[in-house]
């Protein structure tokens, strides 16, 4: 479904990504792990259109989207939950969720999906009239994910959903991830928490200083000695 071919990304003169290539097939959960600063978030931002690559191409379902606007990419089925949640703090939970469906015109479908999100995350229904800025970190993460699901995406990007959350909430988020699979089956997940991520991955890529250094299935990487030492605590 998604093909990233040899992209280079620069921030001014600093090169953040060198020749990054990856693939996500329909129905897969693909994970991108790496330490802080490895370039994982930059990769996601380039695929979702927030940053343009200096070289290389991005294909979605066979269509070249390298120069397509972020807005267009949302229309084409990409939904990106950014690093740090980035909910709209001055809007209510409900308004945030409605914004996820901004491009949609099918009122019944939107209402249906709203129900679905409330079922996955009951706390959001409870707090639907509350300002998003007043929610706890975990609740904001659920809101950000729910909001991304409201566009009925074909592929979902999750950027470090566990960051800053208490371990018990991290469990919940990753558990719920299996429920999210009912709404959208193709997921590209970026995580520093390699342990949790590799457990649910079909395939995974490992990034270091802007390049992909290793790839394989989730179980392969979990068993790899290198990975164990570098990311899984020996």
């Amino acid at each position: 479904m998604l093909e990233v071919n040899n992209i280079d990304v620069h921030y001014g003169v600093i090169q953040a990504l060198k020749g990054v290539s990856l693939k996500v097939n329909e129905g897969e959960i693909v994970v991108l792990i790496g330490a802080n600063g490895a370039g994982k978030t930059t990769t996601l931002r380039t695929i979702s259109g927030l940053k343009a690559p200096t070289q290389g191409t991005v294909f979605l379902n066979g269509v070249d989207i390298t120069n397509t606007s972020a807005q267009e990419r949302v229309k084409m089925g990409i939904s990106h939950v950014p690093e740090g949640r980035r909910v709209f703090p001055g809007l209510t939970v409900l308004e945030n969720l409605e914004l996820g469906a901004f491009l949609r015109k099918d009122r019944d479908g939107i209402a249906q999906d709203l129900e679905m999100v409330y079922e996955h995350f009951p706390i959001l229904r409870e707090r639907r009239k509350q300002l998003a800025g007043t929610l706890s970190g975990g609740e904001q993460q659920m809101l950000a994910i729910g909001r991304a699901l409201m566009s009925r995406p074909k592929i979902l990007f999750l950027d470090e959903p566990s960051m800053g959350l208490a371990p018990i909430l991290v469990q919940e988020i990753f558990d719920i991830k299996n429920n999210i699979n009912k709404a959208v089956t193709t997921v590209l997940l970026v995580e520093q928490n390699a342990n949790m991520a590799l457990q649910i991955a079909d395939r995974a890529y490992v990034m270091e200083t802007g390049s992909i250094v290793l790839s394989g299935t989730g179980s392969e990487l979990m068993r790899s000695e290198e990975i164990k030492k570098a990311y899984l605590g020996g």
Binding site: Q71, V74, R85, P89, L99, F102, L103, G133, A148
Partner: protein
């Protein structure tokens, strides 16, 4: 007491003008964190378009008002596209300086074309010459119309911002531009729309001032623009109801100082308010210090 009430009437009238202009400053600051110095000159151009319509095209007050609003909308959108958008990723000070440049360009450009001399709006006829007397208080129809039009425009604006899709987009972009983009919102169009909206209100203010105060000149925007900006800061920059409250507050203060104090100090007091609010509560009356959760 009656003298005071008369001043209140005058204050509400002046406050309406400041409120209309303050809204433009606050919306643009809210969405791209820019103090649009050229906004005051869009107001000036609105006044001139109104003058042109009424004097040379012999159009009535309302048609002239609408045309001026339309012209200013287009002008505001053009300014954003030509002068500010290319600097979207530049430092904030660069855009600020550019805004000053646009302001000077409009002022002196206008002077080149219409000369620096004052122009006078044509005499009003009919209902616009009437007034209502309540005891010793005189409320002119012009004042009533001016305030009514202002209130109608402000209600329209609130409706657009709170109840329409583009309004939601405006609010989203002002809170988090990247996240808004990820919702599929066209950030460029949303910003253009915001500029257009604010400029339309400035254009309306320009025509209303032309009718009410009669004379216009190419530099007429400078001082009212500054005061309207102060009104926006006072109410809470970036907050729409704040601009409305701020406008009326500054208008009232100015009129009361001129009426009861020394009219030499009317401007100074407004600037003193700016200094005070920045010291005491820089986020403005309705401003909150929003803490972001990580």
């Amino acid at each position: 007491m009656e003298g005071f009430l008369q001043q209140v009437v005058n204050g509400i009238t002046l406050g309406s003008i400041y409120a209309l202009m303050a809204l433009g400053y606050t919306m643009v600051y809210g969405i791209i964190r820019l103090i649009n110095f050229a906004h005051a000159d869009v107001y000036m151009i609105g006044a001139y378009v109104g003058y042109f319509c009424m004097t040379f095209l012999n159009l009535g007050f309302l048609p002239s008002l609408v045309i001026a609003m339309f012209v200013c909308t287009v002008l505001g959108i053009l300014i954003e596209k030509i002068a500010y958008r290319p600097l979207r990723n530049a430092t904030r000070i660069s855009v600020l300086i550019t805004a000053i440049g646009v302001s000077l360009f409009l002022q002196y450009g206008m002077m080149f074309f219409v000369s620096a001399n004052v122009r006078t709006y044509p005499e009003m006829t009919g209902i616009m010459t009437k007034s209502i007397n309540m005891g010793n208080i005189v409320i002119s129809m012009q004042q009533i119309i001016l305030v009514s039009i202002t209130i109608i425009l402000m209600i329209l604006l609130q409706f657009i911002v709170k109840k329409t899709k583009i309004g939601k987009a405006m609010r989203a972009v002002s809170m988090d531009k990247d996240a808004a983009e990820l919702m599929g919102i066209n950030v460029d169009s949303t910003i253009s729309f915001t500029f257009g909206l604010g400029s339309a209100l400035a254009g309306a203010a320009g025509v209303l001032v032309g009718v009410y105060y009669n004379t216009i000149n190419p530099l007429m925007g400078t001082v009212p623009g500054l005061k309207a900006f102060i009104a926006a800061v006072f109410g809470g920059i970036g907050i729409i109801p704040g601009a409305m409250i701020g406008g009326y507050f500054i208008g009232a203060v100015e009129v009361l100082v001129a009426g009861y104090g020394n009219s030499m100090y009317r401007d100074a007091v407004v600037f003193a308010i700016l200094i005070l609010i920045l010291i005491v509560k820089p986020s403005g009356l309705l401003g909150k210090n929003t803490r972001e959760k990580v």
